[in-house]
């Protein structure tokens, strides 16, 4: 087929035109520099789980995007297209084939990135390719649905404001009953707090226990914190669907709320992609410099223990534990030591997983894969690598600092019948809390505060 513009579908043309607007120098470097050495091949869990199938190789997948770049934006591809494997897309079917690669065969985990001698960052331009396809409406149904929820309702699980508030209030009651302190609170929209605490909507929908656990820790530390009534979703589907506008809008909502509440620090609950999006990529997408501190709740919990604000007893968490590094935390944000240090303080028996830290394998549910039902069989097949890693530790429980990884790991543990539990640090810290004396102290502080405020109002 000849390459005249007229023969190209409307969507294919849009993808090509948009690519030129999305490329930056870092991406162009990655697209131009690959020498097809194949050193990255074995770094990908898809390759390892599908031996003999080269279509899973990072460079093979990258070339499906690279060929467009070469054909339309790199002059070697314009002069000698066949010689350098440059090519274009003409039909919507070809775009759908590309969709199956960029969404279905790569979790954007960046393991190949840290293993490429040339410094090629496939995951970054794979995300760009996802964005190009989403721009013309070609994406997995689940991705479309979740992105729509996040655009329209303000969080990726479509949680309504009333449900959110109700769940927090329910957890507040739980906190009061567990602490036997009717004055214990989970404040909402409290201005001028030290901490504004944002969460993953999964915590509202499926895991309210983690909200309670975080509240217990804040309570024990005597923290002055609040949860926001809006802009509370720190997850961001913009990272997964490559839509910088969505990414900027979602992160911007969180930042605006912290500004509005005059919060001093934004604390992001345990979630790899949420942490990366809100802490790292958000300011770039939103084109906004944040004026407050922002950190993962892992760092907050660790500092409480180190500063003596909370006391923990690791014997309360018997059993053997291993730790799974979320790709986004470890490979994209350098959050590898704090979770381990925290874990060493709250459990007795920790078994390291190999490889680990920035070399760890993806839980295989990353890059939004958990929302793409059509790729589940291939995801679970690729999860064999993670399953082998997990079972080699002989640990009973795998700990992770990511809600998405919790789901990915739970799915694969069930599939491969590993019989392991999955938990997060917030659950272990809350379980290890030593609260003797704290309740009385907090009640006293509360009474003093009440006295001051009633005195002031008289």
């Amino acid at each position: 087929m000849s390459s005249t513009k007229n023969e190209r579908s409307y969507k294919a043309q849009k993808v090509i035109d948009r690519m030129g607007q999305k490329l930056n120098r870092q991406m162009v470097g990655s697209l131009a520099a690959c020498v097809h050495c194949g050193m990255c091949t074995d770094s990908c869990h898809y390759v390892l789980a599908n031996p003999g199938d080269p279509t899973f190789a990072p460079a093979y997948k990258a070339d499906k995007i690279r060929k467009l770049f070469k054909h339309h934006y790199d002059w070697t591809g314009k002069v000698f297209p066949k010689w350098v494997k440059a090519g274009s897309v003409y039909t919507d079917e070809e775009l759908h084939e590309l969709k199956d690669i960029v969404f279905g065969k790569c979790t954007n985990c960046r393991r190949c990135t840290v293993n490429c001698p040339m410094g090629v960052d496939l995951a970054t331009f794979n995300r760009m390719a996802r964005g190009l396809l989403c721009y013309v409406g070609i994406m997995p149904e689940g991705v479309e649905y979740v992105a729509k929820e996040q655009w329209e309702i303000g969080n990726q699980m479509g949680v309504l404001k009333e449900d959110y508030i109700e769940t927090i209030q329910w957890q507040e009651e739980e906190l009061q009953s567990e602490m036997e302190d009717p004055t214990a609170k989970i404040p909402i929209d409290k201005p001028d707090s030290n901490i504004v605490y944002v969460i993953n909507p999964r915590e509202i929908k499926h895991d309210p226990r983690s909200i309670l656990d975080a509240a217990k820790i804040f309570y024990a530390a005597g923290e002055d914190y609040t949860m926001p009534s809006e802009g509370w979703d720190m997850t961001n589907f913009g990272l997964f669907n490559g839509d910088d506008e969505l990414g900027g809008a979602v992160a911007g909502r969180v930042y605006d709320k912290v500004d509005e509440l005059r919060g001093k620090k934004l604390v992001i609950s345990e979630c790899g992609h949420g942490y990366r999006s809100t802490r790292c990529e958000g300011p770039n997408w939103a084109k906004k410099d944040i004026t407050f501190d922002a950190e993962s709740s892992v760092i907050t919990m660790l500092s409480y223990i180190k500063q003596g604000k909370i006391k923990v007893d690791k014997s309360k968490n018997p059993g053997s534990y291993t730790f799974h590094d979320s790709c986004n935390n470890a490979r994209s944000c350098g959050l590898t030591e704090e979770p381990r240090e925290l874990l060493s303080l709250v459990v007795e028996n920790f078994q390291e997983m190999y490889p680990n830290r920035a070399e760890n394998f993806c839980c295989t549910g990353g890059g939004g894969a958990m929302s793409m039902a059509e790729y589940r069989p291939s995801r679970l097949k690729s999860a064999k690598i993670k399953a082998d890693q997990l079972s080699a530790t002989r640990a009973k429980t795998v700990v992770t600092s990511c809600h998405n990884c919790v789901d990915g790991l739970t799915d694969l543990i069930g599939h491969y019948k590993l019989g392991m539990d999955v938990t997060q640090l917030v659950n272990l810290v809350a379980n290890a809390l030593v609260v003797d004396g704290i309740v009385e102290e907090n009640k006293k502080k509360y009474a003093e505060k009440e006295e001051v405020s009633s005195g002031a109002s008289q």
Binding site: R25, G29, G38, D42, S43, V114, R340
Partner: protein, 229 residues
């Protein structure tokens, strides 16, 4: 020495070098015209690294095969990489030494060093050709340019090996082929993947800066904290 060989050793090489430099200049200019993606976020990580440190680490990875899993787990591949690139340096140097410093080649030891380097690179080149054809993963990602560049370089090593003694008493064929190949190589390189080294400093610097800012580079493999009892 015939006029043809003299022309090949001098004028042809000079023209080829100028052409290569011109295309390289255009390539870099094209590359630098792309906007540089900026990062606004405050740094992450333990605070013991920064973008500059990340850049240095990233650029230095070439000499640290133990640092990346891909090179750590394939030491033989890394050794091949070193040998192959030393061969390239030796062969290019030879193309300058023969016309401009032939005295150096009077030393048998020096000639032997060049021959060992390009000879070893030739063997690696043959191994790489076999790998590119026989390994299904490598075959699947290879372009005609990948195959051609590798065959070109490997043949060039063979002729560099033969040309190293700088002896034309048995005829000029070998020397002429070596210089014609060198000129072709110089003119072809900017259009092929062999020019990857042009991008290398940029890609590694940008990645290092990015990962340094985020506390990822230098990659950590040991705990950076004291395990409490």
């Amino acid at each position: 020495m015939s006029n043809l060989l003299h022309f090949s050793e001098h004028t042809l090489q000079e023209v080829a070098l100028v052409l290569m430099a011109t295309v390289y200049f255009l390539r870099i200019r094209w590359f630098l015209k792309w906007p540089l993606g900026k990062e606004r976020q405050p740094a992450t990580g333990l605070g013991d690294t920064n973008p500059k440190k990340g850049e240095r680490y990233s650029l230095g990875l070439i000499a640290k095969p133990w640092a990346m899993e891909s090179t750590r787990s394939k030491p033989f591949m890394y050794a091949q990489f070193v040998v192959f690139h030393l061969g390239v340096i030796a062969s290019i140097s030879l193309s300058f030494i023969i016309p401009y410093g032939p005295g150096l080649l009077k030393s048998a030891a020096f000639v032997s060093v060049i021959q060992v380097l390009v000879g070893a690179a030739f063997i690696v080149g043959v191994m790489r050709i076999i790998r590119r054809i026989s390994n299904p993963y490598i075959r699947a990602i290879s372009s005609p340019d990948d195959h051609f560049s590798l065959i070109l370089l490997t043949s060039w090593f063979a002729f560099a090996f033969l040309a190293a003694p700088n002896d034309i008493s048995g005829g000029e064929g070998t020397m002429l082929t070596y210089f014609l190949l060198t000129a072709f190589f110089l003119m072809y390189v900017p259009f092929s993947k062999i020019s990857h080294y042009l991008y290398y400093p940029f890609t590694r610097t940008y990645l290092g800066r990015h990962f340094g800012r985020r506390g990822v580079f230098p990659l950590r493999r040991k705990p950076a904290y004291q395990v409490s009892k």
